[in-house]
Symmetry: C2
Subunit: 403 residues, 2 copies
């Protein structure tokens, strides 16, 4: 099989490296060698051993009947979308690591792939090298996935880990993440939760078989969190993680991206640093958890190469993967009852009676030297919480708590 790589950045060059270093393994598993014939890149790569493979026009790949498999590792939606669409329409398998592409155009691209009887695979778009799409689609094919909780963004998990373990402030942790290359110079997509949002949308679409509009998912990042929140968390034996959450209850889907308190009983508690972890709950298997490198050159490339091998094996009978154009109705997670951790201005003594009137039985949390108090409520919906918090007044922070 001859293949092309579109976009030769971190992941694209990683794909080349994996194919090169594990050549024999890949050949054995795929049943034939996979050879990179073209690398589509804006600039030449003078001095690189792959310089002679570089082409600048997508047409070269599209018009080559020998190239049956194309890897898209350009990122972004344009021109990745146009290129991938043309490749599928030309009857070539496409493997991508691009969450933006899959979240925005997955439905259409999957439909074209089905029509053309080629594979469109995207394991690497969520959780880097963790085999989560294949697990949901194949291993749990006989299961109904009822709950997905994912630590899906290594950058934010690194920041939260440092805030928790070292007591760093948000800005300090972000700067270190940038220094180490874990965070972009413009970190918005990570720290505002947009990246996690696209990923939980893709996982939900894979699990439900329906299209998910990620723009409808309530999304909150980690920028508001401070060392004070972590001090309270420590009192509860809890940590704060940024979760992509997807819950199916009675056939209806509740989604959210937001920081969550979890304690050591949650298998995701020990997922630290740039690692990712995904906790599934399905109606037959029950709880299962998947953990590994959610980003990075070779881990992500490993998932791409796994998909390339699958595409070669499956030939013109692609896996029954993905979702249809039927649009899933996204409901906010706050419609369901949760415990809340909440911080309020003022003193516990003054507000104790009113708090208990409004929230019922709560757990009190206090840190010395602060003009505030905090509570852990019993289970209540977001609306119930808002009403009570509004009447009490002076809300400083509210975070869902699974403790």
């Amino acid at each position: 099989m001859k293949a092309a790589i579109m976009g030769f950045g971190t992941v694209g060059s990683g794909v080349y490296e994996v194919l090169d270093r594990n050549r024999e393994t890949v050949r054995k598993k795929a049943g034939e060698p996979i050879e990179i014939k073209y690398i589509l890149n804006r600039r030449d790569l003078p001095g690189s051993p792959v310089d002679e493979l570089v082409v600048h026009e997508i047409g070269t790949i599209l018009e080559d009947p020998e190239t049956g498999l194309v890897v898209e590792t350009m990122g972004g939606t344009s021109p990745a979308y146009e290129y991938v669409k043309c490749c599928l329409q030309a009857g070539k398998h496409v493997v991508t690591s691009n969450k933006n592409l899959v979240a925005a155009h997955g439905t259409e691209l999957l439909a074209i792939a089905r029509e053309k009887r080629v594979s469109f695979l995207f394991e690497a778009s969520v959780g880097g090298g963790i085999p989560i799409i294949r697990t949901i689609n194949e291993s749990l094919a006989g299961d109904v996935v009822e709950e997905i909780s994912g630590i899906l963004n290594g950058t934010t998990n690194y920041i939260l880990t440092k805030m928790y373990e070292e007591g760093w402030g948000f800005d300090e942790a972000l700067k270190m993440a940038q220094k180490l290359g874990y965070a972009e110079r413009n970190p918005e997509a990570d720290i505002e939760g947009y990246d996690t949002c696209r990923k939980i949308a893709i996982l939900t679409a894979a699990a439900s078989g329906q299209e998910v509009d990620y723009e409808q998912i309530p999304t909150e990042g980690i920028t508001k969190l401070t060392d004070v929140d972590f001090s309270y968390a420590a009192r509860l034996g809890a940590s704060i993680k940024l979760f992509g959450t997807s819950i199916c209850r009675d056939g209806r889907y509740y989604l959210e991206v937001a920081p969550v308190f979890i304690n050591a009983r949650n298998p995701l508690y020990s997922v630290s640093g740039v690692f990712n972890g995904i906790l599934l709950n399905s109606n037959m298997l029950g709880e299962s958890m998947y953990y590994g490198s959610g980003a990075g050159k070779l881990p992500t490339a490993s998932a791409v190469v796994g998909d390339m091998i699958a595409a070669v094996q499956l030939k013109d009978r692609p896996a029954a993967l993905g979702w249809t154009g039927q649009r899933l109705e996204v409901l906010p997670v706050r419609l369901l009852p949760w415990k809340y951790f909440a911080r309020f201005e003022g003193s516990r003594e003054e507000k104790k009676t009113l708090t208990e009137e409004l929230f019922g039985k709560v757990r009190w949390l206090e840190l010395a030297g602060l003009d505030e108090f905090a509570i852990l409520t019993g289970p209540m919906t977001g609306e119930e919480f808002d009403r009570a918090a509004g009447q009490l007044g002076g809300l400083r922070r509210a975070i869902r708590a699974q403790v």
Copy 2:
């Protein structure tokens, strides 16, 4: 697709239940309904809604051209082996949950399946519902798996968890496991490590593509462990787990089943109770971990049904799964250097000088009121350890330590 279930015990009836309860999901994923036409069982099931499906002769299934898929959940090797072989030879896909069968006859059955262009799938034979075979075979197809550490037996993990967390003795924990139905009346296969041995053999064969003779794997169970060992472990912030270990170094394979000290830095540390967990290290993805229910009716059945759906999808192009008849040379893990936890008779004061002469720099561990002392050595091979321990004399226990 019409299917048959051979053996209607816990897992077999679970398969029927999963297919029934998730009928619509299964139909969508498989692309067609999967209907159980026969249940091969020694006795009738009067009063059961499936009684009319019961047959007593394998011939009924073999001779029915409409039945293209057979599930084997009988356990043991005979007549499971003969039945499965006949089914494959008759051109029927076979899905099994039977580790004994796969460990003893996998090579031959895989070869027949390849020849007949049918699927022989066995995800449920290792790790219950955890998708570990598919992960190794497909998701990590472009990776070289260099290390597998598995908590693969829920019974022993339950016993070890109770000894660690509650301070119970071995006998007490075993009795409770039997009472709760986690352990058989004859628990030998679990507590002597034989079950784990077959499972790590299957995983190693899947990862290496070579046949593994499980009888060559050095196998030690958990029966010798006492509360004293756990007290020392606690001093080290460590727990004791029964590991199936498989290490590939420079193309050579080192295997073992034995208790191991691990601390909280190991992702398997928090795998407790009857849960299973598998830690992989592969040359591109790096560390990844898989966690879930390693046994039980519905979790195991969930994996069987996932395989059934795959078999229906793949039709006459089965996955390039499994291993060939090339026999893997099994080397003992003790050839590699490890730290050892070791307990010796006598007093530290008397033996301090000799111990440090023989073992070099060690970490000393002492529990009050015992006529013994313990050490944590630096990395040494099993032979080096044995020689030093023999010269020191009075060895009471030696356990590999990953701390």
